[in-house]
């Protein structure tokens, strides 16, 4: 398993968040998540402007194997979606922490619970036992 990027926060639903300089938050799914799902074939993205609550369903990623909900890790408004994924969902497999980002949100209201890289690594290690 590759090392987790140190500048991200993680959730127990295997999403990652990055706080950008302008106050927005970029969200994607972790390498563990894409690996467990297998080759992705379809991503259902939210509309820009959609307001979501922390823990609410925000997007759906479908692999050759199964469909999986992506939950909003924080409350706020979707300000940008990674449209490229509509035609090229495999970007998430290839680069989950970079080109495979899913949405960018403007936080408003309560944040969900997140983990530091070390905490998420410990969480993954527990899963494997």
């Amino acid at each position: 398993m590759s090392e987790l990027p140190g500048d991200l926060l993680y959730t127990s639903e295997h999403e990652w968040l990055r706080r950008e300089d302008d106050g927005s938050v970029t969200v994607g799914i972790t390498d563990h998540a894409q690996n467990a799902l297998g080759d992705l074939v379809y991503v259902e993205l939210p509309e820009v402007g959609q307001v979501v609550e922390a823990g609410g369903e925000m997007a759906v990623v479908e692999s050759v194997k199964a469909a999986s909900d992506v939950y909003a890790p924080i409350s706020g408004e979707v300000v940008e979606v990674n449209d490229v994924l509509a035609d090229d969902p495999e970007r998430i497999n290839a680069d989950p922490y970079g080109d495979g980002w899913i949405v960018r949100m403007q936080p408003a209201g309560e944040d969900g619970e997140t983990m530091t890289p070390d905490e998420y690594q410990a969480f993954l290690d527990d899963l494997e036992d």
Partner: protein, 363 residues
């Protein structure tokens, strides 16, 4: 820890992601399921199917016994190495299991049944031996490889000795040393041609390594499922079961009604359903927009009623979502499928979707 096939170490060495499959530790993929799928459509792939149950049926009544046990007629098998796909029915005409029967020679047949139904199949087969001079013996020591794809036979021929290669390429069954068999498969579970190899554990490990060395891609259960879905091949438990007749599962073609005095198990119940105008339809679905059809999704047909997706997924060849579905009776070409509470348009199409590398439907 699940049961392991003799090829387990080979899978791990090839980088397999191992998953539990009905109690067996089996490879799901070796990196990319999509690449494995394309390898089989475009060149060749090898699958470990050793988890499947091999049963040898022999004795002076072997043929009569199988003609009673199976809905298809093994009397069609006259050349050693030839295979026949069939359902094994219960008295209600429901499917106990689907299976392949290979003709090994006079009074000798090899039957391959599903792993998930092993126990009930063996019991069922044993129970029906009463009155027949026949022996039913499980061959759990045998491993099985399925090599599939347009170049499968040519490449697989090179994994075995020269003297046998010509025979294999000449469309004849290959008989190697004791226990080691290779069968020519005109159209396999993937919709591609290829060959099935039965071998004891050590020989199977060698055959697997030779396949990989010959440029045949190792393929996991994931690709096997998307390939068989494109090929319109049924999966027991998904597309049919003990309460579904082959007539409602697109398997009418596997029922040998002639000769009409052959009294196979389930014949009477099946005959009663044969001309039923309300009999449910079994067809393919092609999703028109984006999304992925999955098993058990609700299908709605205007004016005809409701049905259900029995197997669904993404077709890597068509780059669209496809499914097999049990639908209400009627003549119609469109349906709606409920995906996450949303009704989406689908076209009702004939099966298969893909065969021998070529799409069989218009997109």
């Amino acid at each position: 820890m699940g049961m392991k096939t003799p090829l387990h170490d080979s899978h791990v060495a090839a980088g397999a992601r191992i998953v539990d499959f009905g109690g067996w530790d089996m490879p799901l993929h070796y990196g990319s399921q999509l690449e494995e799928h394309h390898a089989v459509r475009r060149k060749a792939g090898v699958f470990d199917v050793s988890h499947m149950t091999v049963v040898d049926v022999s004795g002076s009544d072997a043929e009569a016994y199988l003609r009673r046990l199976l809905a298809n007629d093994v009397a069609k098998l006259t050349k050693p190495g030839k295979a026949l796909y069939s359902c094994m029915l219960n008295e209600r005409g429901g499917v106990v299991d689907d299976l392949i029967t290979y003709y090994l020679g006079p009074e000798r047949y090899r039957v391959v049944v599903n792993a998930s139904t092993r126990d009930k199949d063996l019991q069922w087969m044993e129970r029906h031996t009463a009155g027949y001079e026949v022996e039913v013996v499980e061959r759990s020591e045998l491993a099985m490889l399925a090599v599939q794809g347009p170049e499968a036979r040519q490449l697989a021929a090179h994994v075995i000795d020269d003297e046998w290669r010509d025979a294999a390429l000449a469309l004849k069954p290959f008989f190697g040393p004791e226990l080691c068999l290779q069968f020519v498969v005109p159209t396999g579970y993937t919709g591609e041609a290829g060959s099935d190899i039965n071998a004891p554990a050590d020989d199977a490990v060698d055959a697997w390594a030779s396949c990989l060395a010959a440029g045949i891609s190792p393929c996991g259960l994931g690709a096997r499922d998307t390939l068989r879905l494109e090929a319109g091949m049924n999966l027991y438990g998904n597309d049919m079961d003990e309460d579904t007749s082959p007539l409602e599962a697109g398997l009418g073609w596997t029922i040998a009604w002639e000769p009409d005095d052959r009294d196979f198990v389930g014949r009477e119940a099946l005959a009663a359903k044969r001309d039923d105008p309300k009999r449910r339809r079994f067809a393919g679905l092609l999703l028109e927009g984006k999304g992925v059809l999955r098993g058990h999704m609700r299908v709605i047909v205007d004016g005809a009623g409701e049905g259900e997706v029995t197997s669904g997924g993404f077709s890597p060849t068509l780059e669209r979502s496809i499914a097999m579905a049990r639908l209400p009776a009627g003549d119609y070409e469109r349906a709606k499928v409920e995906i996450r509470k949303d009704l989406r348009d689908a076209r009702v199409v004939g099966l298969p979707f893909v065969r021998k590398g070529k799409p069989q439907i218009e997109l």
